[in-house]
């Protein structure tokens, strides 16, 4: 007989740091990183997997942290926007977002950055159409999207020249 559990321990790596906590199954990854770990860069907006603001990477794949159980990240490598830069220098994606004015209020930015990071990993040679298609699931109410697409295009091109990140 399989035992039903109401609390369980999880151990995962968040931005390179191993953390262990005991959580309820209902704990969402977004609440876990924001409230338990204090990583408030991840934003929560629609709670419907539609807006993309809460995007984080779990084993390099983008997920909506607002609708992802923390228990499912047990053993996984989780990366939030706080883990994008190396702590000293901005990531090329972040640099390009600044240069191209790819944000105004900034609320959607962590999600766009993490979605773009996923694209950089999966398809570093993505062209404009592929970038647009990949970012379709993220909503920005300020920029009109064009500067975001330009920033990602620019960052991918730079990352191809310097393949360190």
């Amino acid at each position: 007989m399989i035992e039903a559990v109401s609390f369980l321990p999880i151990t995962l790596t968040v931005n390179g740091v191993e953390v262990t906590r005991v959580v309820e199954p209902r704990t969402l990854l977004a609440d876990f990183v924001r409230d338990d770990l204090g990583l408030t860069g991840t934003k929560v907006s629609c709670r419907l997997q539609v807006c993309g603001a809460c995007t984080v990477l779990v084993d390099d794949l983008p997920v909506s942290a607002c609708t992802y159980l923390a228990v499912d990240a047990d053993g996984a490598d989780v990366r939030t926007v706080e883990g994008l830069s190396d702590g000293e220098n901005l990531h090329p994606l972040q640099e390009a977002f600044v240069e191209k004015f790819a944000l105004q209020c900034g609320f959607c930015t962590p999600g766009f950055l993490m979605m773009s990071k996923a694209l950089a990993t999966e398809n570093p040679t993505a062209d404009r159409a592929e970038i647009i298609e990949h970012l379709e699931g993220n909503i920005c109410r300020c920029t009109g999207y064009r500067p975001i697409v330009e920033a990602v295009e620019c960052a991918l091109a730079r990352m191809r020249k310097v393949p360190s990140e």
Partner: protein, 267 residues
Amino acid sequence: MLPRFDLLRPTTVAEAVGCLSEESVPYCGGTELLLAMRAGLYRPSALVDIKRVPELRGIRLRDGVLSIGAATSHRVVALDALVRGQLPMLATVEQGVGNARVRAQGSVGGNLCFAEPKSDLATALVAYEASVSLTSAGGTREVLVSELIQGAYFADKEPDELLVSIEIPLPGDHDAVYLKYQTMERPTVGVAVMNDRSGRRCRVVVGAVGEVPVVWEGTDPSEVVPDEIAELVDPVVDLTGSARYKRHVTAVYVRRALRALEGSHPS
């Protein structure tokens, strides 16, 4: 925050089936279930996480039938070499489901079990005449996807049954296309055309406009009359449009799908 629930983690189909009841439901990607729970529409006391059951994952070809484990994600199906080689239309459909996060999290089995009326996957699978395998303590039954999807959010699946796999009989010499029109998160209309030349059969399936996919069957694409198919559908009036509008885009997309079908096979 979600309501409280317990978690069960079986590792075999038999264990998983033993955990299921009205109150204790299968859980995989959560892209439908967790949303329903958060909205208060659904309140199971326990989730049976089927992600640790290896039998429910992966894609295999056996005796001319492509079998996709229920817990396989849309992303894995979209990228799979067998699917891309044998059923390229299905790979295209899966590459366009929801968004990249939904494709990474959501499972094919969950998509069908929720019987979301705007499911791209269900429309494509009906075109392929696919079926699903449902297992309970009492045994296993095969149900055509066209019969599984009974209504909006209503699948012919008992609470003690687990959707184990999707079975797609590989067509012979065929062309297939799927075209959709989408301005919001879900399509307004999705049209799948499957022309099985070796079997002299042609199917047109229209999804998303009504509660369930509508099927037209004939022997050749030249027999398809888009305006007649637009009369066959039973549109649900919602934010994606009125009944008249949906019939109009149905005819337009059937026409475009037929044109794309011709383009996919120039001979």
